[in-house]
Amino acid sequence: MEKALLIDITKCVGCGECSAACAAAHGFGAPTSELDGTNYTAVTQVGDLYARHLCMNCKEPTCVSVCLVGAMTKHENGPVVYDFSKCIGCRYCIQACPFFIPKYEWDKTFPAVMKCNLCYEREGTACTDACQFGATVYGDRDTLIAEAQRRVAENPGMYVDHIYGLKEVGGTSVLYISSKPFSELGFPTNVPDEAMPKLSWVVVSQIPKFAVATGVLLFGIHWITARRQEVLKAEALEREAK
């Protein structure tokens, strides 16, 4: 069953307990107001609202697709998990993530990529347990989508009709609902609805065919040009013989 988080921005009071619980669970110091190498989730104030940012844990993650050594893995139940022992530090995941999520430990000699992994080693997440206002809830993704749709449908004046993460990049394991458009809250809204990995897979998947075709073509040309030279040589010999 795919698990997910539903974050209701209208319920968040900006107390920051989620960030603090997250930092404690992962052994970080006091959380800052920005995502970085020692902060998996940050609460930012936008007007009278508080938007919490964390890894979207996409259904078909860009980071998993681009990582050449497979250091990023999508777990069946939702989390996208990073494996330091495989990483070589190319930072393609940071460069490619459409949500600007993975962060690097820039100040370390052997830096790791840091991002939320939905507390994959336990049931539920530290941030959900810490939230006393129900702004973040943990559960089955389908159940949470139904719940989000219900809240939006029952309170049309209160919510914008957009569940962020339902369709973005093919769906994510973190879902948001809000009373303000997401573009005003600092969420990237120009991301496509299709899963991103397809964009490069359409090309990469053709490589074997392409390599064979190029090889045949080049050997063909080589065969013709070599043959032409042989013929020229033979003709020259014939002329000499006459």
Partner: protein, 361 residues
């Protein structure tokens, strides 16, 4: 030689800069951030790989299309390519966060990743370049034993296969450098993001590779004081015109097809950089190489080739850095610049040393 002393100084500064990067870490020594995790080191990887296209283009012209008159350019061009790839390896060592794990792609595979394909292509193509340069080494060593004789004969026998494999691998990874960006449509300016970016990268590297061959021929002739075979360079430059015409057409047709042509007329930094790339890399060289006076002059062809290289470098820097609409600016740190300058200087020194001491020209 006069230029070699300053070049050595630059190399030493580069080594010190690289040392600082390893002692103090990427964060303290570079301008890289979570918003710009790829900087000019990656940009110069792209440039060096593109200029190294000299190797496979000239090898294909001579060994596959059998235009034997270009035979004298093959070795210098393959040497350019080889040095280009070695420089890239050094860039990767300083740029990778965990360079000690650089061997991981050999055993940990993710075929979905464009980076995975590029890594393997570069690895295999570097091996091909070594095989293509091996005869030079064997000639120099002149061992006169049976083994080296057999090896030379074997390399000669395999030559078509080696060249064809090299061209395939080059075609794949030259275009794949563009494919790296296919997955980032929402982050990049439409002036550079395109679903045919691999095609654009491939065509542009062909022009840059030939221009690099011309420039190195002229530079080597001046250094060694012999006359350059201008007829050959003139013919190469005529190929460049055709490639640039195709490239320009595809580039603009792509902008039109994606409906973003009008954005090039807005007055801001990105369109300005776009025009710089187009005017320096396509318009000026095409004028120089079509004009009946300048195209028959060595200085005209020389200048046109430098313009092609300049436009090519601009395109790669634009694609890797300028195209990103992150809302922040990345300006490389002095240490990043020192490493780039040092490595380029080392490349020149290596080229000069090898061409003097081995049978390259």
């Amino acid at each position: 030689m006069k230029w070699e002393i300053p070049a050595w100084i630059l190399v030493v500064i580069g080594i010190i800069a690289a040392g600082l990067r390893f002692v103090y870490g990427l964060g303290a020594t570079t301008a890289l951030t979570n918003f710009f995790p790829w900087g000019i080191w990656i940009g110069f990887d792209f440039i060096c790989i593109g200029l190294a296209a000299a190797g496979f283009t000239i090898a294909a012209i001579v060994h596959i299309f059998k235009l034997k008159r270009f035979e004298s350019i093959v070795r210098p061009s393959i040497l350019v390519a080889f040095i280009g790839y070695i420089i890239v390896v050094f860039f990767l060592i300083v740029d990778l966060g965990l360079p000690l794990s650089a061997w991981h792609p050999l055993v940990m595979w993710n075929p979905h990743s464009v980076m995975f394909e590029i890594t393997w292509c570069i690895l295999l193509y570097s091996s091909i370049l070594i095989l293509e340069l091996l005869p030079v080494l064997l000639e120099k060593l002149d061992l006169k034993n049976r083994l080296s004789g057999l090896l030379s004969a074997f390399l000669k026998f395999c030559s078509p296969a080696i060249v064809v494999t090299g061209v395939i691998l080059s075609t794949l990874h030259q275009s794949s450098f563009g494919s790296l960006y296919l997955i980032m449509p929402s982050k990049m300016s439409a002036l550079w993001y395109s679903n045919i970016i691999p095609v654009l990268f491939y065509i542009s590297c062909l022009a840059a590779g030939l221009a690099m061959s011309i420039v190195t021929q002229i530079a080597a002739a001046r250094q060694m004081g012999h006359k350059v075979n201008f007829k050959l360079l003139e013919e190469l430059s005529s190929y460049i015109v055709v490639i640039l015409a195709v490239y320009g057409t595809v580039r603009f047709q792509d902008l039109i097809a994606r409906g973003v042509l009008m954005t090039i007329f807005s007055l801001s930094f990105q369109p300005l950089m776009f025009w710089a790339e187009i005017i320096i890399g396509i318009v000026i060289p095409m004028i120089l190489l079509i004009n009946t006076t300048t195209r028959h002059m060595e200085s005209g062809v020389h200048l046109a080739s430098w313009c092609v290289l300049g436009g090519f470098m601009l395109n790669r820097i634009n694609t890797t850095i300028i195209a990103f609409n992150i809302g922040m600016i990345y300006i490389p740190s002095l240490i990043e610049i020192a490493v780039v300058v040092g490595l380029v200087a080392a490349g020149f020194l290596a080229y000069s040393y090898i061409s003097k001491n081995f049978n390259i020209f």
